[in-house]
Amino acid sequence: MMDRMIIDGLAFALPLFIIAVGGIYSERSGIINLALEGLMGFGAFSGALAVVLVLRSFPGLQPQGIYIAMIFAMVGGALFATIHAALCIYFKANQVISGVVINILSVSLTAFLTRQLNSLIFKAPSDRFQLGVANRITIPGLSEIPVLGAAFRNLYPFQIAIILVAVAAYVLFEKSRYGMRLRACGDNPHAVAAAGVDVERIRFSAVVISGALAGLGGISFAYSISANFSPMIYMGYGYLAIAALIFGNWGMTTTLGAALLFGFARSGGYELARALEMSSTFNDITMTLPYVLTLILLIFFSKTNRVPRSLGEIYDKGKR
């Protein structure tokens, strides 16, 4: 039972985390990113489309499908994020609004394109792209550890990819020149500009990275939950990721904690329901567990929350 809680919890928490990391990139550069839901969805769409296209010509690549999907999900998410970036940075749009609009656009556009492409290219009308499932990996040795070993059992390939990407994202964000400038942009872009750094370029790239990471999270959900891409992917996990990153105070490690909390509260809720043998009608109640828990914890942890100082402010060079 503990095992299952850990395995399922991780499988949910990691994609959520990487989406939130995307959010951190964008928001720490000063651009509010409510578009995560849409970026995640569009990324998943792109990854799924790529896989379906590749497998049509090279059916032998089935086992590599998930890797192809992950790469293209990141590309697709990144491309779609340029809309948000352009709106917020060059067109000086309200960032909250832009995010919401991106979400609306993503839902209708992917639904529309999925149908159109299925009937045009594949001549098989359908509202989804079938993905097939991901094989699961168990890390020998580590998985033998009692209790915690579960964290190394039955891993999806995307979980390992996410961990690798997250480590890279962490180093880039915390230790590199680029990261240092990016974080400074979120605090005081005027200081960055005065230091001779192109604020707009930094922010643009940060938003694009957030799209790529959100796309990776999106394709992971697509694989782990329903093994296909359909508009059902828009289940609000993008918004949940925003909650996680705010809960995590815009920091990477704390946000990982928040994502794990969501994941384990969720899988724990299922286990609890099973242990208590409650009838299925109570499912709805146990499903609230992560959200209620978050709200309660926020009461204790929000006091010290520090929003990136320039978050949401339209950057105007001449502003005094």
Partner: protein, 360 residues
């Protein structure tokens, strides 16, 4: 997408021309290419259109899934068509539109029209519902015959009558196989996912609690697989995709699809998880009624369709299922008994229970 030629414009003229039937299919959110329920109905229309050259069909989609919105969508377009096909329980209330538009014909699938001022039957509405317990029964028999672990399960969405029918039909089928074919399959139920039906009776089973929550579906699927179940009958709408995923990720687990042939949904790198699919044959019935309309023999009625009209059943095509020849043989055997009415599997409200029904 699914839509074909525009049908609007030259209103009354087409009607005079007997054959140029203008058909609309109005669906709830998932649309006519959902690879499932809606698509099956749509295929029935397409088959009809193929044989009647100048008939046209347009697909109209309602996106919220709300019952009032569903009816509104029909109302929005009804003037431009001669026949409206409405697959889904959401459309039960079209009876009000039907009353106002006696010259239009309605084919309602999976629900009976809502009574209007006490009127339950409408001259221009053909409503078809299906004896889900029969389909469930075939799934149960197949599962019991094919299980290696001796443990089988049914996963449903919410304990509405159609779902309970599937569940009890399935349990009836397992019972039947145990008794008549010497199997000893056990139906596994997770107490924490027991359903409560519309009369607030606990009906057992495994209910996800939702029709659009694949994530929980997967959790339920995994939990059952963990209990040693190797064949799952899945009648849980969108939540079912999660159960499929759980089965694909595990080894040697099979699922039985429902409503339509779901073989294509079962493909994965390791093969296919679909053991077989049990059916509601909507397409043939929709086509039948469309034919009746052009032939002038259409009659409004509320029909509960059974195996005796080939309306319930299972997949026959050899390349669309993975049952052994032996199992197929036995299924054909029980199919005839169900057709003949010898076997009447237990349903939510037919007074029989899975361990005590006619024919057991």
């Amino acid at each position: 997408g699914g839509g074909s030629e525009p049908a609007a414009g030259n209103g009354g003229q087409a009607e005079a021309d007997g054959e140029a039937l203008r058909i609309a299919i109005v669906t709830s959110p998932s649309g006519v290419d959902d690879g499932s329920f809606n698509q099956d109905n749509y295929n029935g229309i397409l088959a009809f259109v193929e044989n009647h050259g100048n008939a046209t069909v347009n697909a109209v989609q309602e996106t919220t899934g709300d019952v009032a919105a569903a009816v509104q969508a029909v109302a929005d377009v009804v003037a431009d068509y001669d026949v409206i096909v409405t697959p889904g329980f959401q459309f039960a209330d079209i009876s009000s539109i039907a009353k106002d538009n006696p010259e239009k014909k309605f084919i309602l699938v999976d629900a009976n029209p809502t009574p209007q001022d006490g009127q339950e039957l409408f001259d221009n509405v053909y409503a078809m519902t299906f004896a889900e317990e029969e389909s469930g029964f075939f799934a149960g028999v197949a599962a019991a015959l094919e299980t290696k672990t001796g443990k089988v399960s049914v996963v449903n969405g919410i304990a509405f009558p159609s779902n309970v029918n599937y569940q009890w039909g399935f349990e009836s089928g397992v019972m039947y196989a145990n008794k008549h074919f010497g199997t000893s399959a056990q139906v596994v139920e997770l107490p924490s996912y027991a359903g409560t039906d519309v009369t607030n009776t606990n009906v057992g089973g495994n209910y996800v609690g939702n029709f659009a929550d694949p994530a929980t579906g997967k959790v339920v699927g995994n939990a059952l697989i963990n209990e040693g179940v190797d064949i799952l009958f899945v009648a849980a709408g969108g939540s079912g995709m999660g159960v499929f995923t759980a089965a694909m990720e595990a080894e040697g687990i099979y699922v039985i699809g429902c409503d339509v042939d779901q073989f294509d949904d079962g493909v994965y790198s390791g093969g296919n998880v679909i053991l077989t699919s049990v059916l509601k044959n909507m397409s043939i019935n929709v086509e039948r009624q469309l034919n009746a309309i052009v032939e002038g023999s259409f009659q409004g009625s509320n029909e509960l369709l059974r195996a005796n009209t080939d309306s319930t059943g299972f997949v026959w095509g050899d390349d669309r299922h993975q049952l052994s020849a032996e199992t197929m043989e036995k299924l054909e055997e029980v199919y005839e008994l169900v057709q003949a009415g010898t076997i009447v599997p237990s349903a939510n409200f037919n007074g029989h229970s899975p361990d005590n029904f006619p024919g057991l």
